[in-house]
Symmetry: C2
Subunit: 127 residues, 2 copies
DNA sequence: CAGTATCCCTTCCGATACTG
DNA sequence: CAGTATCGGAAGGGATACTG
């Protein structure tokens, strides 16, 4: 565990802080996963419905940020009505296995965590 | 990529949403890494100085949350002046390799991402 | 359809002061 | 030393209305 993760004192060059800063918001990871799970480019509304509870505004800003970072590509077809398709880039796809690692960990442990937390809360109340 | 990460429509049982919810804040991961990099229990102030720019308040609340989730243990010595030592638990430690995976990805790609973003911004201005 | 623009509420978090 | 309490600014993000 002694490779990349210890020099976060240099705040501007710390990889962890970068990840947290760009992808730690409420929707980025979810959008990436959604696009990553498709092999065809996906339209704005389809992404929106797939996620279910994201607002139009937040989907727009999240997609823009991901596009700016090169994790997602955007193709706009000048038709009426407009059609815009999003896809994950190779760079974005290269991130997914790591997200998946996290998801696997969470899936395995989240029940135990929920129980631990519940105990902790009742102890707090007792004290 | 088709294992854990696709059922996030079930908002309450989605592992990704859980991770984001509990660890997506500004400090949790950084605290975990700090404690994970030590093999001896670490005092409050030492954690604080190691991270450098975390406030006392945020370190307190972050440690409490991590403790409630069972990722960090807390041992209080009733002395004067008080001494409190924190350590990562086995559960917390089991998360670190996944964080490290993310950190490795970021370390490898963050320069490219920064350049891509810079280009994107100048194109936006031009348009 | 795929956005933009605006409003506004909530949460996050830092600063500061105080305490056992 | 290791907190707790309080305040207030800033940012995140939802709801709604509008548009090419």
């Amino acid at each position: 565990m002694k490779n990349k993760i210890e020099n976060f004192h240099d705040h501007n060059n710390c990889p962890i802080r970068h990840v947290l800063d760009r992808l730690g918001d409420k929707w980025s990871i979810l959008v990436l996963i959604t696009l990553g799970s498709k092999k065809d480019p996906t339209r704005f509304n389809e992404v929106m419905h797939e996620i279910g509870d994201i607002s139009q505004k937040m989907l727009t800003v999240t997609l823009r940020t991901l596009e700016a970072d090169g994790l997602v590509s955007r193709k706009h077809y000048p038709e009426i009505p407009p059609r815009v398709e999003y896809a994950i880039t190779d760079l974005g796809a290269s991130l997914l296995p790591h997200i998946d690692g996290l998801a696997g960990w969470a899936a395995k442990n989240m029940d135990a965590i929920a129980k631990t937390r519940k105990k902790f809360v009742s102890k707090q109340k007792a004290a």
